[in-house]
Amino acid sequence: MRRLIAILSAVIAIVVGLITLSGLLVGDELGLLTVFVERYGVRDLTSVFLQLVVVTVAVTLVIGLFNLVVVHTGRIGRLRRGWPYSLVLLVSFLAVVGLTLAERAGLASAVPGEPAYTAILLDSVEVSIESSLAALLLFSLVYGAYRLMRRRVTWANMLFTFILLVVLLGALPLPGAGISLLAQVRNWLLAVPVSAGARGLLLGIALATVVTGVRVLVGQDRSYRD
């Protein structure tokens, strides 16, 4: 029975994948393929599938919220390490949900011309906290560069640190011939080797994405088999 379900799910995934791919890729001048796509309404079917994806992703948000509540309620129930944070999270969650519902029902209207309470809450809490973390990020990055050399001095690590210093110094808006030269070196580094390396990485990822996509389309992905 389990094997039958696995085969069925693979067939559904392959058929839906091929139909969606045809609907998105086949243009107006591809002969028989275009005739097939137009005669059988493949583009309309593709549009329906894409709308279903949007709806499914929206449903996963509800699943996520349920997961969040279950995980943190469990932590509080078992008094796991850090449970007070879970309590704060749940209370904040319920308070924001309550406030949003009250706003929608007109029970907690904002002052006319002023932003809604939930927007104020978002600006004054989340944005502030994320700004503080962004400031910390700088120190983490500097510590990372320091640790790179401390961990193990290799040619690759030395090159990495040297380039990092050149790029940082070259970006300084200071006068002087030395800095100007560093700025030129920095611009060349960013335009040639860094750009080439980045393209190499992205090309590798693109190739791998294509191969993995083909595996999914031919039903070789593990999720169809177990």
Binding site: V53, V54, T56, V57, T60, L61, I63, G64, N67, L68, V70, V71, G74, R75, R80, R81, G82, Y85, E126, I129, E130, L133, A134, L136, L137, S140, L141, Y143, G144, A145, R147, L148, F160, A198, G200, L201, L202, L203, G204, I205, L207, A208, T209, V210, V211, T212, G213, R215, V216, Q220, D221, R222, S223, D226
Partner: protein
């Protein structure tokens, strides 16, 4: 890393970052889930289940299914709990997710991290916390910012498409090994596709003419 986690009876932490199903990252999500599956399958023999964290809610069912399959293949479905896959809500590349991961490392006394997926520079916060707690970490990101941070700060960084080859390295099926071989062949074809036109342009077309003459036996 997995062996240490099992022996210490502490959880392994697997994070898929900001990847999710139904968007640009769908295929990447599947590749990262394969890596998570291989790690979770090895950790499933222990008493403490691995923790899988995601920031995109669409990746949550994938994370739960990955854990379930890992336990199912070990025939230990009883210790599996869906709540070991956790959603930490955040937008793409925001710091809230990084903050949540740092808290997870401390609260759950994580024994090792596998951070594979889409991360931005905020990965530095997580990796710094891991270093402070002496937690070994494998990290990679498809975002270039995150990749640079992972290279500089992770104990075991993976580069570029290596995350897609994880199934081939860690798995046992011929199909997964075929992916690695296919990737290598495609990579060499791509390199030749770049180098040959470049060499031809540098020689003002003389290279291709010479090849054509050679093929015609002149």
């Amino acid at each position: 890393m997995v062996g240490e986690a099992v022996e210490a009876d502490r959880p392994l932490h697997l994070s898929l970052g900001h990847v999710g199903l139904g968007g640009d990252n769908t295929v990447l999500s599947l590749a990262v889930a394969e890596l998570a599956y291989q790690a979770a399958r090895r950790a499933a023999i222990g008493a403490t289940a691995p923790i899988v964290t995601v920031s995109n809610p669409s990746a949550l069912p994938l994370a739960q299914d990955t854990l379930r399959r890992a336990y199912f293949t070990r025939e230990r479905i009883v210790p599996y709990s869906g709540s070991q896959a956790r959603w930490y809500p955040s937008n793409s590349q925001t710091l809230a997710f990084a903050a949540a991961l740092t808290a997870t490392m401390g609260d759950d006394r994580v024994a090792g991290n596998v951070l594979a997926g889409s991360f931005g520079p905020e990965l530095a916060l997580v990796l710094e916390q891991a270093q402070r707690r002496r937690i070994p970490t494998i990290a990679t990101s498809t975002s270039l910012d995150g990749q640079a941070v992972a290279y500089a700060m992770a104990d075991f960084p993976l580069l570029g498409e290596e995350v897609f080859a994880a199934g081939g390295y860690l798995g046992e099926s011929a199909g997964q090994t075929a992916v690695v071989v296919t990737l290598d062949v495609l990579r060499w074809l791509l390199i030749l596709g770049i180098l040959i036109p470049a060499a031809n342009a540098l020689s003002d077309g003389a290279l291709l003419e010479a090849v054509v003459r050679l093929l015609e036996g002149r």
